[in-house]
């Protein structure tokens, strides 16, 4: 039974739980056993909260027996990136500087999952402070791609995507600052959604770049992704950038198909620098949309080529400010020192890995006296231009479509020596963060030679996640599911 439970998608499991064909205890036991059997190879989890999960499952079963399920997620085993605070459960953001840190409260999204009755299996591996595109910057060891254990799962939410591909959980949460949900989703052959900035509360999310960070769901199907978004989206007064706009019903129009949809194809995104096999699958997906009755419209995002440059000023600038809090005073590591300044310097020297140090340095430089106008302010203006490109495109189309990443999953170690090459992995995803727009990654087949998943990216109008999900669902239905990943038996 347990193997077949693992093959159910989230919505099917939810239905089976509602019908009491399966208990949450059985599903949770199956997931914990699967994690035990596979995570030595995959490394998706930084910690597993088995006892808490079993207790939550028992409570969910008791509610189901009374006919009092709290939501479609009641009793469903999920897991969250280690960037979300969990009360009393170690939360590190993949950094040594927070080793052993026990948060005093839950992140808003964790609160919402618990209130929905979800069972939390543990905390997922990630690049340190969400800085990276391969999960190799985790201070606790890399995570591996279940499609090929020699390759990265992408990052920074690598564990969130790998856990799904390895059938260790039915849904996960990640965060996306420059592509950190969408790129790993593409690399691992799952669905990932970065909501509009402000759609999901950042309260209790360890901050990296506050004007770009956005939590969002990953799951094996589009409908599962919609269910998870429904549970976590909405206003939270503890996050001043959380929008008060009403939340759409993401499942209501999900099966609406692609007929009549106007899909903008940015000239610049298929212009070169793209792996040929990735391009084949992206163009094939676009043709499928046409066959389903959608219209392809050529659009132009002329400033998207400046996205990486603007991002690598804005994000490090914000990071250098956000990471100033790790100073050995209130939480986390404190290095022994004679004076205060030495304590700050030694604590940060020992606690941070190379990538946070690099970005703190870059951000400090960009914000320092004499450089602010030339770097940070100019980047903020370019950000306006990137957003205007999209506003213009959306006068002629409903969604913009293109690749998620220029390649399929790359090998562990391939880019670690050259940070700039690693940054370029985000070339197609970063503009949605700069423009504060929702972006989704949906599998569009396997690379013709390498046999690894390729993701199609869909970017939508502000707060129009419903259209992204509907469009992604149409493609998913048309092309059918991917085969199971071969890397883990």
């Amino acid at each position: 039974m347990s193997a077949s439970i693992l093959e159910l998608d989230l919505r099917a499991l939810s239905g089976a739980l509602a019908a009491r064909e399966v208990s949450s205890r059985e599903a949770t036991a199956a997931a914990l056993e699967r994690i035990r059997a596979t995570d030595g190879q995959v490394g998706a989890f930084l910690r597993v909260t088995a006892e808490q999960a079993r207790a939550a499952a028992a409570a969910a079963d008791e509610r189901a027996a009374r006919g009092a399920r709290l939501s479609p997620l009641d009793g469903v085993p999920l897991a969250v990136k280690d960037i979300f605070l969990t009360e009393g459960v170690e939360t590190t953001a993949g950094s040594r500087i927070l080793e052993g840190y026990l948060p005093p409260y839950d992140a808003a999204v964790v609160e919402r999952l618990r209130a929905a009755g979800a069972v939390l299996l543990g905390k997922l591996n990630m690049d340190e402070f969400a800085m990276g595109s391969s999960n190799e910057n985790s201070a606790y060891g890399p995570c591996r791609n279940p499609w090929d254990l020699a390759r990265t799962p992408g990052g920074s939410s690598g564990g969130s995507a790998a856990a799904l591909a390895a059938r260790q959980a039915w849904g996960t949460l990640g965060t996306d600052t420059g592509g950190s949900i969408r790129e790993p989703a593409a690399f691992c052959g799952v669905v990932g959604l970065k909501p509009t900035y402000g759609r999901v509360s950042r309260y209790g999310v360890i901050a990296f770049a506050s004007s770009l960070d956005q939590p969002g769901p990953l799951a094996r199907t589009v409908a599962d992704t919609a269910l998870l978004l429904q549970a976590v989206a909405g206003h939270d007064e503890r996050d001043m950038t959380s929008s008060a706009r009403p939340v759409d019903d993401y499942l209501a129009g999900l099966e609406g198909g692609a007929r009549g949809l106007r899909i903008g194809v940015p000239r610049e995104w298929l212009a070169g620098g793209l792996d040929a096999g990735v391009e084949v699958r992206v163009r094939e997906a676009l043709r499928r949309y046409e066959r389903m009755g959608a219209t392809l419209v050529e659009v132009s995002l002329p400033h998207s080529r400046y996205g990486i440059a603007a991002y690598y000023l804005i994000a490090p600038a914000e990071a250098s400010s956000n990471l100033a809090r790790y100073d050995g005073v209130r939480f986390g590591l404190r290095a022994p020192a004679r004076g205060l300044r030495e304590m700050y310097q030694q604590t940060r020297a020992r606690g941070f890995g190379a990538e946070p140090k690099r970005r703190i340095m870059l951000g400090t430089y960009a914000l320092s006296a004499g450089y602010y106008d030339a770097y940070y302010l100019r980047a903020q203006k370019v950000r306006t231009l990137v957003r205007r490109d999209f506003d213009e495109a959306f006068t002629r189309c409903d969604v913009v479509a293109g690749p998620v990443a220029p390649t399929v999953a790359f090998r562990l170690g391939e880019k670690v020596e050259d940070p700039l090459q690693m940054y370029l992995a985000d070339v197609f995803t970063i503009t949605a963060n700069l423009a504060a727009l929702p972006g989704l990654s949906v599998p569009c087949g396997l690379h013709p030679e390498q046999g690894l998943p390729v993701g199609l990216q869909l970017v939508g109008r502000p707060f129009d996640e419903a259209t992204l999900l509907r469009a992604a669902r149409a493609l998913e239905r048309e092309q059918g599911p991917l085969p199971p990943p071969p890397g883990v038996a």
């Binding site: 026990l102 005093p104 950038t241 020297a349």
Partner: protein
């Protein structure tokens, strides 16, 4: 190219103690990144307003009422502190 002296100055501003090996590594890597971002200089941004808020004005939530609400109790706020004294965070001597 950033000089080692500049790298040290930035590290001091950021309260980061770097090893000599890190100073050399970062001087090279940060210079490469700064060279890359220089392409922004090619853009004419005159008359363009900086995007200072990610949330459009119309989407921003209303301010909540300005009333006192309970915060985290001191004991819980201090629970993760490396060192504490009573209800305070304890740090090394500040004034020599």
């Amino acid at each position: 190219m950033l000089s080692l002296e500049e790298v040290r100055r930035i590290a001091a501003l950021a309260r980061l103690e770097l090893s000599p090996a890190e100073e050399t590594l970062f001087a090279g890597q940060l210079s490469a990144i700064l060279d890359y971002v220089k392409q922004l200089e090619a853009l004419d941004v005159s008359g363009v307003e900086p995007m200072t808020h990610a949330l459009a004005a119309g989407d921003a939530p209303p301010l909540r009422a300005d009333e006192v609400r309970p915060g985290l109790p001191a004991d819980r706020a201090l629970a993760a502190a490396p060192a504490r004294a009573g209800t305070s965070f304890q740090v090394p001597r500040i004034i020599e």
